[in-house]
Structure formats: structure tokens, C-alpha cells
């Protein structure tokens, strides 16, 4: 169960989202679950992994983002509900 903790980090721009997604996946044992962009350009990165790794990765990403003033919000969900992923995926093009 602990392997599927969910970390969410929301940034100001697509480029900074790419940057921290790359760094987080590179440095910690987490996998990129999803990336979503809102209509004003806010980009949200979802990562999955063990709870400790996710927490560390989100802290690192948030620190990296605040240096550039691009952080909007961050959160960690330890045991996400199964139906939650339907909301995250949204409408996918098949």
C-alpha cells in the first residue's frame, strides 16, 4: 500500500514543472504518474512512490520552485482513494 503514495506539486509554468519533474524522478525513487495543465498555464505534476520518498521529493521540488517564485501549491496524500485517479486522469485522448 505504501508504494502508492501520491505527491502533488503545482507550479506557475510548464517549464518549471518539467524541471522539477525531471529532478524529482532523477534524485528520488519516485515515478511520474501524470502531468496536467490548467487553462491559465498552472501545471500540476503528480508523482507516485513510497511515502518517505514522495515526501522528500515534494519537499525538494517545493524548495526548488520557491527559489524561482513558481510554486503555487504542494501536497502529499499518503493513501489515496482508488477513485481519486479518475479525477486526476480527466479526459484522455485514446
Amino acid at each position: 500500500m505504501l508504494k502508492h503514495s501520491l505527491g502533488i506539486i503545482e507550479t506557475n509554468s510548464l517549464s518549471s514543472a518539467f524541471e522539477i519533474a525531471h529532478l524529482m524522478v532523477d534524485k528520488f525513487e519516485v515515478t511520474l504518474s501524470n502531468v496536467r495543465q490548467l487553462l491559465n498555464g498552472y501545471t500540476t505534476v503528480f508523482i507516485k512512490g513510497e511515502l518517505g520518498a514522495v515526501q522528500q521529493a515534494i519537499d525538494f521540488g517545493a524548495g526548488h520552485c520557491t527559489e524561482k517564485n513558481s510554486l503555487v501549491a504542494k501536497s502529499v496524500i499518503a493513501v489515496p482513494h482508488q477513485d481519486l485517479f479518475n479525477f486526476i486522469e480527466g479526459e484522455k485522448d485514446e
Partner: protein, 237 residues
Amino acid sequence: MNNSLALLEVNGFCASISAVDALLKNSSVEIDLEEIKNGNVLLKLKGNIPQIKYALNLAIESINKISSVVNFTVLENLNPSIEKEFFNKTKKHRPVINKPEIKSEEKLITPQKEELPEKKSEKVKVKKVKNTAVKKLSKPKEEIQSSETSDINLSTIERLRLEALGKKIAAEKKTEASKPKAVSSYVVKKLSDLDGLNVHKLRRVARDFEEFPIKGRQISIANRDELMVYFKQILPE
């Protein structure tokens, strides 16, 4: 009476997802999530009034930890017509195209092609290789036979023949079972039945006719007018 709706506008996707998680775990309201153009996310909660008020407090609490709530309202005793407009409108139903019928035809053709060379190769091997090798070959097939026939005295070649025949019969059954389905979808006995059909359906109907003048690739090349000329030759008006 699940006819009340709460609208909750949240700043950012991250906060909305964590709120949805809290609601899924702790409340029993229906949830819908929609992006609005200025980068806010609209959460819609549906249920009866006490459920919704509890859920709203829960959601606002969890959102304020992360981000901020822009606005929220509760609409009580919603008219069903408005309900349809607002709730679950984001899930678009994509039009389903009638492709599965074509797929079923393709699947029918391919397995027959694959099975035939296997049978031939098996027979050739049996003729060439000596008894020891034949036993090895027949071992896995004995398991199938034990369920079907209990005759142990049959020679291996006869067994193989029976198997091959059995496979053929099974394949024929498949084709027999599938053809009527294809025909039943477009029952064409007169020329007037063809009026509503487009070119693809016309071609499919043409393939189902045994006495159709042209066949195979020619049908797939022919356009609507050509096909109609051929249909006029065959069908009564």
C-alpha cells in the same frame, strides 16, 4: 432526496485533488470536477443537504491548508432540468463508430490462415520422423484427446488426423456461426433496402452475396455507383 448541489471554486488543481481525496474518504456525496478558464477548479457536490454541508466544511478545511477557496454556494432542491445541465456535463460521450463488425471479419480470416500451415508441418514431421520422435510430438496432444476420446489403441497418425479434422470442424463452425450475424445486420432482399446504406455498408453486403459478379479486392475498390449497377443485376426491384 439527493437533489441539492454545492459549488466550490478552488484556486489550483493541487488543492482540489486533495479536497476530493478527503471527500471520497470521509463523505458520501457525488463529486464532479471541472476546470474553469482562469485556472480555478470548480468542485460540484451532489447529495442531500446535511451531507453536502458536512462535505463543504470538510473540503474547505482541507483546501485552506494548501491553497485558497475562491467562492462557494449551496443550491437546495435543484430543478432536475438544471441538474442535468450542470452536473456531470464535463464527461463527454464520444460517438461510437461501427468498427467492431469489420474487426470480427478480420479476426475470422487470420486464424484460419495461421492454423493451416501448422497442420501441414505437423503431418510432414510425422511422416518423416521415427516412432520415438512421434511419441514426443504426440505427448501434449494426448491431454486434449483424453478429454474427447478414450481410445488408446489408435495409432498416432490416426490421432493426428482426428485432431486435424476436429480443428477443421471447429473452424467451420466458427465461420458458420459468424456469417449469419454479418448478414442479419443488413437484410437485403430488394433494391430498395440499399437506399439508406453508405459505401462501406454496401461493400459489406456485397461480400455477403455469393453470386455477386465481382469479388474481394475489386469490391473494396469499386465506388457506390459501380456497386449499385451490380446490385441491379442481381436483386429484384
